[in-house]
Amino acid sequence: MLEGAEFYFNVDHGYLEGLVRGCKASLLTQQDYINLVQCETLEDVKIHLQTTDYGNFLANETNPLTVSKIDTEMRKKLCREFEYFRNHSLEPLSTFFTYMTCSYMIDNVILLMNAALQKKSVKEILVKCHPLGRFTEMEAVNIAETPSDLFNAVLVETPLAPFFQDCMSENTLDELNIELLRNKLYKSYLEAFYKFCKNHGDVTAEIMCPILEFEADRRAFIITLNSFGTELSKDDRETLYPTCGKLYPEGLRLLAQAEDFDQMRRVAEHYGVYKPLFEAVGDGSGGKTLEDVFYEHEVQMNVLAFNRQFHYGVFYAYTKLKEQEMRNIVWIAECISQRHRTKINSYIPIL
């Protein structure tokens, strides 16, 4: 059977692809960022954002304008767009969207589990959950008494159920540190997402698989870096590495043995993609950190995703780029409101 996606992609998904490309065209450009950086107060920022696609999204806000209000409104806008895409999608694009929301769902579930375990009121936490990670059983979390109840009654209906089964058996749910749980869930999620994209084949696989491989390797590096000096053992660390990246299996084994940054760098030098990234990392406080370099690389890959047509990667790329833009705007707004302009140019430029 012909694999040509261009033959029948537009039947189901053409409208949405056109829409998302239109949205992508309205991302902030370098000129917009230069204007924002020159603002003196948050009011100026609001005026500048009115000329962009954001329009009057802050029109209903009362004084004084704070950075958190800007953040909330931007997130609401992103959610509106995302929900629109999702509601108009057909299979298998809707499964793709579900996979995308799984990462937010994982964060929300961890929050809710924590709240339920500590017998805190769940209502306040519901407000703080990420809107893209909503699932229908969220309010039902507080009826669960123990974590295994939680799992059997609530989580088994959500798309997260298979990830939980990978991570653990029922009786270890109590003692497991929340952070380890979060990272294990994310690892299974990433691997499942990767398999889905790969099985779909076609242009989607060509675009999404490198992005997801990079995400997996990036997580491995960052987890290693952040676990230096903590009480996380090497074996525990190894169980958190997602296996769908380029580093699997030798690189991950080497990383698990690494004890400091230089050993990590040596592991990275075996791989052609990561060697230049590590070389771009500055020393100490002056240059870029490893995380900044990774962010830039991710943004580059997402922008390149738009160069090809007829695949689902555009939706993923758009969401990630929009989130990065939100982070940039919040960063610039914080620098302005705290009058700390030395690092105001450390946002990640997108276009």
């Binding site: 961890i110 500590q118 952040n226 676990s227």
Partner: protein, 235 residues
């Protein structure tokens, strides 16, 4: 406040001795209190200087900490709910100790760490470095805050103590001592006057006695003269 009053006491030499002793006592007391007040003022000024320095430093440190929070949020996303959720026991605690300055006890706060860092693995997947920096900055801010708290309580306590001591010094200097001195002056004048009275009385008595003596001698002579005549008549 200062009237023309003096202590009501019967003026006598004994009273004078007693008053002199009291005056001496009051003067010694005043000098001691002045020394205490000086010591307290010295410490007060030192604390004031330190408070100014600490507050300036505080401004910088808080600014740095707030900015590192923004940096951490940029890289790690929103971790505030996770952090708030996992709060159970305090890691940094305060002990209150006492410090003594010229008799005034001042509270001093000292912080100590207890327990392990329960947020070690937060931000494991992203932003861990920024979170570590954030924790360090805010820890520094908390330490400074504790120091500032002890300085400010000492400041307030010392202020009270200095006011009280100064009030006492002034009271002794402008009320007690003048009163004793006035009493002393009064006793002395009374005693002098009494002496003068005594002297005058004595003098008057001596005069009277002299007059009496002259009179009685004159009488005697008259009687003798009359007696001789009588004696001569009989013969």
């Amino acid at each position: 406040m200062s009237g023309k009053d003096r202590i009501e006491i019967f003026p006598s030499r004994m009273a004078q001795t007693i008053m002199k002793a009291r005056l001496k006592g009051a003067q010694t007391g005043r000098n001691l209190l002045k020394k205490k007040s000086d010591a307290l003022t010295l410490r007060f000024r030192q604390i004031l200087k330190k408070i100014i320095e600490t507050k300036m430093l505080m401004g910088e440190v808080m600014r740095e900490a707030a900015f590192s929070l923004a940096e951490a949020k940029f890289t790690a996303g929103d971790f505030s709910t996770t952090v708030i959720q996992n709060v159970n026991k305090a890691q940094v605690k305060i002990r209150a100790k006492k410090d003594n300055v010229a008799g005034v006890t001042l509270p001093v706060f000292e912080h100590y760490h207890e327990g392990t860092d329960s947020y070690e693995l937060t931000g494991l997947a992203r932003g861990g470095e920024q979170l570590a920096k954030l924790k360090r900055n805010y820890a520094k801010a908390v330490e400074l805050l504790v120091e500032l708290a002890s300085l400010q309580t000492s400041f307030v306590t010392l202020d009270e103590a200095i006011k009280i001591t100064n009030r006492r010094v002034n009271a002794i200097e402008h009320v007690i001592i003048p009163r004793i001195e006035r009493t002393l002056a009064y006793i002395i004048t009374e005693l002098d006057e009494r002496e003068r009275e005594e002297f005058y009385r004595l003098k008057k008595i001596q005069e009277k006695k002299k007059i009496l003596k002259e009179k009685s001698e004159k009488d005697l002579e008259q009687r003798r003269a009359a007696g001789e005549c009588q004696e001569q008549q009989i013969l």
